[in-house]
Subunit: 362 residues, 2 copies
Amino acid sequence: MSLIMHTLHVELGERTYPVYIGRDLLSDNKLLAQHIAGSQVVLISNETIAPLYAERVRSALGDRQLITEIVLPDGEQYKSLDTLSDIFDRVMADKHSRNTTFIALGGGVVGDITGFAAACYQRGVNFIQVPTTLLAQVDSSVGGKTAVNHPQGKNMIGAFYQPQAVLIDINTLQTLPAREFSAGLAEVVKYGLISDEPFYRWLQEHMPRLLAREEAALAEAIERSCANKAQVVAEDEREGGLRAILNLGHTFGHAIETGQGYGKWLHGEAVATGMLLALELSARRGWIEATEVEDFRTLLLDIHLPVAPPADMDAEAFLELMAHDKKVIDGKLRVILLKAIGSACIVDDVTDTEIRGLLAPS
Amino acid sequence: MSLIMHTLHVELGERTYPVYIGRDLLSDNKLLAQHIAGSQVVLISNETIAPLYAERVRSALGDRQLITEIVLPDGEQYKSLDTLSDIFDRVMADKHSRNTTFIALGGGVVGDITGFAAACYQRGVNFIQVPTTLLAQVDSSVGGKTAVNHPQGKNMIGAFYQPQAVLIDINTLQTLPAREFSAGLAEVVKYGLISDEPFYRWLQEHMPRLLAREEAALAEAIERSCANKAQVVAEDEREGGLRAILNLGHTFGHAIETGQGYGKWLHGEAVATGMLLALELSARRGWIEATEVEDFRTLLLDIHLPVAPPADMDAEAFLELMAHDKKVIDGKLRVILLKAIGSACIVDDVTDTEIRGLLAPS
């Protein structure tokens, strides 16, 4: 039996949508039916997820007139314009109308590309996110960022486009590989750091329960993560200002991902190390205590996340890669730092000298 | 010297933008500067337009830090995902930031693909429309529809995305080939038919001045066309309902374009014949007088527009092609008809029998 444990709403005026968190939601036919307007569905997943969960969603869809199932190859390298083009070929071949609904069943790659396909197909059709990884559940499924990668940069081609609903089925976390689970926890911890100190303290205390994948703890952590993100997104849907704080650790993290080649480091792993660098920089500026940096390092080690950049990347490599980041505006690099635990700020005065000091071999 | 003859605003809340109509606007550096936020510009045109007008815009842009000029091949067949991908390659290679501005200098194809590229690049950057054909000036430059074609259907992949401003330089019409000019007039006449009877009567009276490309008449006709379109778009940005009336003649027209292969009939030519079919159908339902249909046929002939579908397309060909149109919702074909001159309506009860009657060999 399915069970909704938490429901929250991402408040965006007429584009407000619900996020359901609970058990067995992906086979909840009534919940799905509430958010599917027509009789046509495009179900997009990948080779890893489809064998595990696609059948349950298909059954829950019942006897709809037209269900096109698209199974993508698994991997960040397929989050491309080419894959997008393949999706449009299938959807056009099956003659889906403007009234169709796209369902993204999978992790961040499936969610991002499905969302972008839905944003563009006939200039926008409905879609539903069913994220199956912890990272997607707390990050990419809330906020309406959709995209594909360009060979020269991640997420460079995309749209802000909101789903009709997000169904977070925490059962899917039981089949998630340990490394991906840990990477997802990096983003969970991020929400505590940027905007919710009590949640951060809760995470420090309850991390063993999360690592044991206890259902109640997972639902709680996901709900508080999504609530934090939803609040930031509601205030700044199109990343005019505040929303940038969600990028804590991402400027350094993207440099690591790009420098190493997509997929070698998981996104959450790169962000974890990036956050540690951001905290270290914040401490050097005297904004947070050095002991907080050490406690955070300990937390990352408990989660089995990396606490140092790749050995082959020096400060110059970081500076070069960061210069071509979306977060550069007219030549100025924006970095997210902490004024305190639970309080992020956006700075654009980080000097190359500071970066070199931070990344110098100790 | 440049001269703004008319300014109107497309009212879309925080996305409201101005449409300037006048003389020599594309070389008006002050007007351009008002709508370019940063120091980076991507100027997109095509092989036909670039030699005529690109230098003027480039000069008006002055000494901006980074100007990337992209010249597309000319033709509807290049309004594709492949061309879009080429644009992203160029823009990424030149490292344009989120603060860049795309300028579309050309007809509908350039405007549609540039607008869609701007909508997607880094999830949305600013863009300015500088339409150089009559069709683009009165149609695609107002309303925020951007798109590329899919091999199986026109405009199937796109976004609703508004420009910062539209600069309509009527001088560019002096170099427009006669056939394209006539095709543009088809859309001008459309606005009179769907929502503005006084404008339709004005057009019947002043068509000789327009065909002679008199400056004041052109500016007047463009202003009234844009004003009519802006009003419809303001009331229904995302084509929930009312906006569909802009598709008068388009369901038949798209069938002709698709059936003949893109580019054989110009869009405006196909729409002209499509509108005549829609008026004929309206008259058969008793909603408008048969004499109005005859007067409209005469007007089309004056403009040198076609007044009959291609000889090789019978009713069955139309029915098959129309069944896979964006305007089909859950199996029901929506067609725009006239309740009176200046008053369009959306109907979804047109039967195959009616279509066969309309298109039967006489």
